[in-house]
């Protein structure tokens, strides 16, 4: 029955966990629609024919047809019944639909996170293991996948008909959607928000692969291409300089150093000019206006673009905006890096210097001029920990290593 109705209505295959339920609601609503529209048309036609002029003149109508007399009107209880019935019906649609909408809006905790960037006129994807792909999105089957979407230029929209899901990719902010694919295969991705000349050719493909194959697939991909500071590993003697897949979090570590983040943010919990990255991801932090917010991907991303918008209480608004200075993959990498530090204990519970009085904190020590810092990163206050590549293995305080060619599974509380 499900298949029959699906085919009659030209719906594609149901390849996500929610598709079947959504289709069932679809069938219900459309069937009611058909009944309503045809019912009205049939009744209208019936009355038009029964009470036609020639029937009156020809005497075909029963005595109670009472031509030229005003109608009895519709009894109030019929009207009320119709209204109440329709209201109940629409309410039922809404209740079921809303329940489904909630379900498709809130990703499960253990979702694999992939960063999606829409731009005129292609999609690019960044995976947690540092791989990247353009136009083709690889996802594992039977596993919840969360997409964090943004756009480089204008609004796009990411649509997979087989999943029954879409979400807009908006510049300047990130949106999210999640799905769990139920069958391997290749399915089209369409852009569904008009974005310019090649809107109709901004096509993509989502490739659902079984678990074992997935790691293989990702391992075979190129590293994610990031504009800006290049990710280069130092050459190993005897080998050429080969770019290897480095986990996105490690990429983020480099970006953090090179983009100047570590001048103000420590990674080991010591207080400094900006909130420490240690223990930040997923924490509930107080804001300037008295509210609190969970520091999730959206918050971190928006803080990079517009730092003063939701300022952490107790810190001054001195952070410059990185809008236009960081590419979307770089932002994703930074978020992953900060996420990788979420279990690092904070030294003073992340209070700024001196004590938290709720007053804006004046800069106690002026920062050395920018050029000097760039030349001597090690001398910046709150010196960042040495990069993994600079440390002997097993040395002291280190962030937890996130390797994983397969999907990063970081239990993240605080997903919205």
């Amino acid at each position: 029955m499900n298949e029959l109705l699906r085919k009659i209505l030209f719906l594609p295959e149901q390849v996500s966990t929610v598709a079947r339920d959504i289709d069932h609601l679809h069938f219900f609503v459309i069937i009611v629609t058909m009944i309503g529209a045809f019912g009205v048309a049939v009744f209208t036609l019936y009355f038009i024919i029964k009470y036609r002029e020639s029937a009156h003149r020809g005497g075909e109508l029963p005595p109670d047809a009472r031509p030229h007399r005003s109608p009895a009107g519709v009894p109030w209880w019929v009207e009320a019944g119709v209204i109440a019935g329709l209201f109940a019906l629409f309410l039922l649609f809404w209740v079921i639909g809303f329940g489904q909408f909630v379900r498709i809006s809130e990703p499960p905790r253990d979702s694999l996170t992939i960063y999606v960037t829409g731009k005129q006129w292609m999609w690019s994807f960044a995976y947690p293991n540092g791989a990247g792909s353009n136009g083709v999105l690889y996802v594992p089957v039977n596993r919840p996948v969360k997409l964090v979407l943004t756009s480089r230029d204008v609004i796009h929209s990411f649509f997979v008909p087989e999943f029954r899901l879409k979400q807009d990719a908006v510049p300047g902010r990130s949106t999210q959607m999640w799905f769990e694919a139920t069958r391997p295969g290749r399915y089209p991705i369409y852009c569904t928000e008009y974005c310019g000349m090649a809107h109709s050719t901004m096509l993509g493909e989502i490739v659902v692969v079984s678990g074992a194959e997935y790691e293989q697939k990702l391992g075979g991909l190129e590293p994610v291409r990031i504009a800006g500071p290049q990710v280069q590993l130092p050459a190993t003697p005897g080998e050429g300089r080969v770019a290897e897949l480095v986990s996105l979090a490690a990429v983020g570590e480099r970006v953090a150093a090179e983009a100047g983040c570590l001048r103000c943010h420590t990674v080991d919990g010591t207080p400094h000019i900006g909130p420490t990255f240690a223990g930040l991801f997923g924490a509930r932090i107080p804001l300037e206006d008295g509210k609190t917010i969970v520091a999730d991907e959206a918050y971190l991303t928006s803080s990079m673009m517009d730092p003063a918008a939701q300022l952490h209480r107790g810190f001054t608004a001195v952070m410059p905006s990185y809008q236009g200075l960081l590419s979307a993959p770089q932002v994703g990498a930074l978020v992953e890096y900060i996420r990788s530090l979420q279990y690092v204990p904070r030294v003073d519970g992340n209070v700024p210097l001196p004590a938290d009085t709720g007053q804006p904190v004046p800069l106690v020590t002026p920062l050395p001029p920018v050029e000097q810092q760039a030349a001597n990163p090690a001398q910046a206050p709150g010196a960042r920990p040495p990069l993994r590549s600079e440390q002997p293995a097993g040395a002291g305080k280190q962030p937890p290593q996130i390797e994983a060619p397969s999907g990063v599974v970081v239990p993240g509380e605080g997903d919205r």
């Binding site: 300037e288 517009d306 905006s321 809008q323």
Partner: protein
């Protein structure tokens, strides 16, 4: 409206000349004119309501910058302007009162005062704007105010220019209307018997004043 009347036209002649065919009497016509202006003012209100909603949305997004922006604005000039407009609303209302009391010359000079006050408002606004320009405060991508370089500050000032600019355009239209009204009073076409156009024009002027009363706290007081 046909040829201008003289001071000596009788009441009946005025009625016949002025009464539109669709109205049964002059009172109805005047009522319709006032009512029509009120309906039009509702649409003007909605025009600015959208902008207020935009302001609120961005203020929620950038609370600190907006507060700082308000601090930066010239409170003295803004408040002076508010009083200038309030007084001008008073003068135009009093002009109508004087017309009803059949003192058209006084009414005329009150209208002139209204015009002068309106022009003064625009002068102060111009001074304010040039003060901003001197600091590099321009709307949108031309914004170059080093002291407050953030996106939120830029948005505050862009909204400031757009909303006060749109208001100023309405002021200029209003000034045009009041100048026309003053001419009508001077020629005796608006007088004790018939001054609906002055009432209707004054309604518009009051709206322009009213909108400023809301712009003033948003941009000058809520720091």
């Amino acid at each position: 409206m046909s040829a201008p009347a003289t001071q000596h036209e009788t009441a009946d002649e005025t009625t016949v000349r002025r009464l539109g065919v669709q109205f049964s009497d002059l009172a109805k016509q005047d009522h319709a004119a006032r009512f029509g202006m009120w309906v039009f003012l509702a649409s003007e209100l909605l025009l600015f309501a959208g902008l207020f909603a935009l302001y609120v949305a961005y203020r929620i997004k950038y609370p600190q910058e907006f507060a700082d922006g308000v601090h930066h604005n010239a409170l003295a000039l803004g408040t002076t302007n508010t009083f200038v407009l309030i007084i001008s609303s008073f003068t135009i209302a009093y002009a109508i009162h004087m017309l009803r009391k059949d003192r058209p010359r006084v009414a005329f000079w009150l209208l002139i005062t209204t015009i002068a006050l309106g022009a003064l408002f625009l002068v102060f606004k111009g001074i304010e704007y040039s003060g901003h320009f001197a600091h590099g405060i321009f709307p949108g991508q031309l914004y170059a105010f080093a002291e407050m370089p953030t996106d939120g500050a830029r948005m505050f000032f862009t909204l400031y220019f757009f909303m006060t600019g749109l208001h100023a355009i309405h002021m200029i239209v209003g000034l045009g209307i009041v100048i026309w009204l003053a001419m009508r009073v001077w020629k005796g076409l608006a007088n004790a018997r018939y001054h609906t156009e002055v009432e209707v024009g004054a309604l518009y002027w009051h709206l322009v004043d009213g909108i400023w009363i809301f712009l003033w706290p948003l941009f000058y007081l809520t720091g």
